[in-house]
């Protein structure tokens, strides 16, 4: 292949290393007003009164907006007013919005708004939320408008429950000789993208609503603003320039509502909102927390027979995408293993914590931590090599998933090949603990992973190609460039299909919902698959048009024509040819007669045969394919002070086909880094009143330069037959197993089961002091 698999330079490279690349907040206009939010200092409280008499006297203040008269919003459950009304349900929730000429004026006025609250009892964990006597976060859930396939339980804190009932759990228990059970938990944490969320909006005299946002979901913004605020959908235009990191955190729509409401309050004048880092951490949606219990049963030989699982997700104060997250977690509730009998309840719980949005891996790194830790506990009890236990139970074509999808050679990767490769890469010979110094030991931990995407069954992706007079092509796709390099990869797919020089593909980076065809949301590692298929369809459409015109000019049948290197030619006699530049912008005969016109290729793709999950059993087909992998880590642990260093981290991912080697490795390494950071250090610390204590990057501290391990990344190639060139999604998978491998290696090193994240030295010290079950 000419360009598939090669590490060609990214299309956004020069812009990004020169500072020329523009992100939402980089668009600065003289006439722009600035909005600032006022946030709740309480996690749960009644709003008694809001007094803005001092604030409105601040020079430059144009408007002050509260939650009165706003529609309820929410993709799964319409439970949230964009600005809190009568009650606040999380620390950092927006209570008022100030619009002023200058950001400093808006900030000054915001600080002068006086709000009186009556604090209420707080729901501070999903376990607590699940207790029958827990305070209710939403008293009147039954009054909310609910999306299809969401099952809230009124008068409780259960926002949604997914049930997986596969096989017969009683039978599974009977067939099992050995059981283990573990409980796991971690609090919500943050995406911490370097670009904080921002947006600006205006309403034009003709009623057009123009929004520019740092978002993974510009087309969803358009849809939701239309639906909630009654704006005709065609009059809403959403722009998304480059996005400075997202990781799922910008897939939710929140700050856009505020910008729109702000613009509306000042007769449509453009208003910009830029979250401060503190607001970005507190107010904007966060990474979901989890409380889990996993019970596994197997035969004496280690064949898994039963899995009984309870997942209680900390969805936070509002549902947003959390019901979907808890559902995705149920879909892959076990690791990538063949288990005949599975009983799983995956619940999305309301709590008084900041609410969750998707996070890279969409529920998978969370449940894999619980499940893969339990697998290690089982291996220990059985006294078998934990990698061997995974190998013998590895899921394969012919097996069924927890939602009873029959797997084949295309829709699932090769778990065993990943394990074999990992073994070799890690120099694995069973679990070992080596004394590496006076007070240090070295251990290795492993885990297996899988993931399908559970996006909406009717999600689609479109691509438009237009040709330039020199025979080069413009590629327009609704995929947002959030850093993953997807648009570079799409250009490679197009160059390959058109057999055209990669440099002749011009990519439109910015998304504009009026001129760019829709790509549902840039999430779920689905950009390359869905937009990739759309690119192929658009390329084929363009090729046919080129050949049709050429067939007329060259007087040959379309079937006898080929294209290559910017020429269309007769297959048998390549000397009879036309250059693209003579065809793609219309062909002119010597006498001036012309035919054709600019070639415009179009293509789209919609997922095939997706179904909703059955409410009682969970049976259904939620996603097109499973990317699988095996991961590991080697740590050096200090037995005195419980500090440790991650020496080396390993990933073997069945990627199907590598499209761009360096981009693929970058995605996997970056995801691994994020996973180690999540497992090893990142969490929100809540006080007893449900307030987040660490809402700055000084106290919420992701990995920094020099703290990274050495990475080893290898790929297995089991093609996904439906994808462009067989490639599987890979944006999230490097993250999924990292918390688990860290937990497994450190549990071995510390000699105690470590079931709570993050694995900071204090956590390990506490676990060692706790009496063992």
């Amino acid at each position: 292949m000419r360009v598939i698999g090669k590490s060609v330079g990214r299309k956004d490279a020069e812009e990004k290393v020169t500072g020329a690349a523009k992100y939402t907040d980089d668009y600065i206009f003289n006439n722009m007003l600035h909005a600032r939010v006022v946030c709740s200092p309480y996690a749960h409280a009644l709003i008694n009164s809001i007094d803005w008499s001092k604030a409105e006297k601040v020079p430059g203040v144009r408007s002050i907006v509260t939650g009165v008269g706003l529609p309820l919003t929410g993709e799964e459950i319409r439970d949230r007013s964009p600005i809190a009304f009568k009650k606040v349900r999380y620390h950092g929730e927006v209570v008022a919005l100030v619009v002023a000429d200058h950001p400093a004026q808006a900030a000054e006025a915001a600080s002068l708004i006086e709000i009186s609250y009556t604090p209420l009892p707080v729901v501070n964990s999903p376990r607590q939320a699940f207790q029958p006597d827990s305070p209710l976060v939403h008293e009147h859930m039954e009054a909310y408008e609910i999306n299809v396939n969401v099952y809230p339980e009124p008068h409780t804190n259960v926002a949604h429950r997914t049930k997986i009932r596969k096989g017969n759990i009683e039978k599974g228990r009977m067939e099992s000789d050995v059981f283990v059970e573990g409980s796991f938990s971690f609090a919500p944490s943050d995406h911490a993208a370097m670009e904080t969320r921002s947006c600006f909006a205006e309403i034009r005299p003709n009623g057009d609503v123009i929004i520019t946002s740092s978002s993974q979901a510009p087309f969803m913004i358009k849809k939701l603003i239309s639906s909630y605020f009654g704006v005709e959908i065609g009059k809403i235009i959403v722009n998304t320039p480059l996005v400075g990191g997202a990781y799922g955190g910008k897939a939710s729509v929140q700050w856009e509502f505020l910008a729109y409401i702000a613009a509306k309050s000042v007769e449509g004048r453009p208003v910009k909102i830029l979250y401060s880092r503190e607001e970005d951490i507190l107010t904007a949606p966060v990474h979901i927390g989890l409380d889990a219990t996993v019970k596994l049963g197997c035969t004496r030989d280690g064949i898994l027979k039963s899995a009984e699982i309870l997942y209680l997700f900390d969805g936070g104060a509002y549902a947003d995408k959390s019901p979907d997250l808890s559902r995705a977690a149920a879909v892959d509730c076990t690791g990538p293993y063949h288990i005949e009998n599975i009983w799983c309840d995956s619940l999305c719980m309301y709590t008084n914590h900041p609410y969750a949005s998707p996070f890279r891996g969409f529920g998978h790194s969370e449940v894999h931590f619980a499940f893969e830790r339990t697998m290690d506990m089982l291996a220990k009890k059985l006294k078998i090599d934990p990698l061997e236990l995974r190998y013998i139970n590895a899921i394969q074509p012919g097996d069924t998933t927890p939602t009873q999808v029959l797997l084949n050679k295309s829709n699932v990767g090769n778990v065993r090949a990943c394990i074999d490769k990992l073994k070799e890469l890690m120099d694995w010979n069973g679990e070992t603990k080596i004394e590496s110094g006076k007070h240090t030991v070295r251990t290795k931990g492993v885990a297996c992973i899988w993931k399908t995407s559970t996006i909406d069954p009717n999600a689609s992706s479109g691509v438009i190609l237009t040709f330039n007079p020199d025979g080069s092509v413009n590629l327009m796709s609704g995929v947002v460039e959030i850093g993953t390099g997807t648009k570079t990869v799409l250009a490679q797919i197009l160059a390959e299909r058109l057999r055209l020089d990669y440099d002749k593909i011009h990519v439109k980076m910015k998304v504009n919902t009026q001129t760019t065809p829709e790509h549902w949301k840039t999430v779920a590692s689905r950009g390359t698959f869905m937009a990739g298929r759309a690119v192929l369809a658009a390329a084929d459409d363009a090729i046919l048009q080129i050949k049709s015109i050429a067939s007329c000019i060259l007087r040959v049948r379309v079937e006898d024509l080929e294209i290559d290197s910017g020429k269309v030619f007769v297959r048998e006699e390549p000397g009879i040819n036309l250059k693209f530049e003579d065809v793609v912008y219309g062909y002119t005969y010597p006498n001036g007669n012309s035919i054709g016109g600019q070639i415009i290729g179009r293509g789209n793709y919609i997922l095939r045969h997706m179904t909703y999950l059955d409410a009682d059993t969970g049976a259904g087909k939620p996603g097109p394919e499973w990317t699988v992998g095996a991961q590991g880590v080697e740590v050096e642990y200090n037995t005195i002070n419980h500090t440790y260093k991650v020496v080396k981290a390993y990933s073997v991912i069945d990627i199907g086909q590598v499209l761009n080697e360096k981009t693929a490795r970058g995605q996997v390494m970056g995801a691994m880094s994020m996973g180690l950071s999540f497992g090893g250090r990142e969490t929100f610390y809540f006080d007893q009143h449900g307030r987040v204590l660490n809402h700055r990057l000084r106290t919420y501290r992701p990995l920094r330069f020099g703290e990274q391990p050495e990475y080893a990344v290898e790929f297995i190639h089991t093609p996904h037959m439906e994808a462009a060139y067989g490639a599987r999604g890979v944006g999230e998978h490097g993250l999924i197993g990292m918390p688990a491998v860290l937990g497994n290696s450190l549990s071995l090193a510390a000699g105690v089961e470590l079931n709570h994240l993050p694995l900071i030295p204090e956590q390990i010290w506490r676990a060692k002091r706790r009496p063992q079950e």
Binding site: A20, A193, E195, S276, G483, T484, G666, M672, M674, R704
Partner: protein
Amino acid sequence: MHDFPLSKRRIILNINSEDVDIYIRAADLLLDTIRESLGLTGSKPGCLNGDCGACTIILDEKPMKSCLMLTLEAEGKKIMTIEGLKNTPIQKAFIEHFAFQCGYCTPGFIMNCHSLIKNQPNADPHTIKEWLQSNICRCTGYQEIETAVLSVLRKDYNK
């Protein structure tokens, strides 16, 4: 009632080797002046607290977080932003080694790396770590950035 001064004073800043004549508020951050008054949006806001390094510029040859300075304090100093770098080895190395993804932290990282290369051409791994720890990249695994910096430093050794 709070007094709210928006009154401005005139100041001359030397930025990317040019003198610019602008009006600023006494409270303006250097970062905001660079972005809003001068339109040089390569320097990014990330935390306004000195934690993330996305706003790093070079001030009189040394890296500085422009969110931690008032514009007033920069008078008489030589300011260089990412827009002042053209075709430098570190920019090429970032492209070659895929040392960026979303690109938001990239200008700050490049300014810091560029300054490191100029100030410490023989930097050892410890020094590199000490310098670059002040910036956060959330996309890469840092290995790519390390490779990029080392590739430039090694070329310097060969000279």
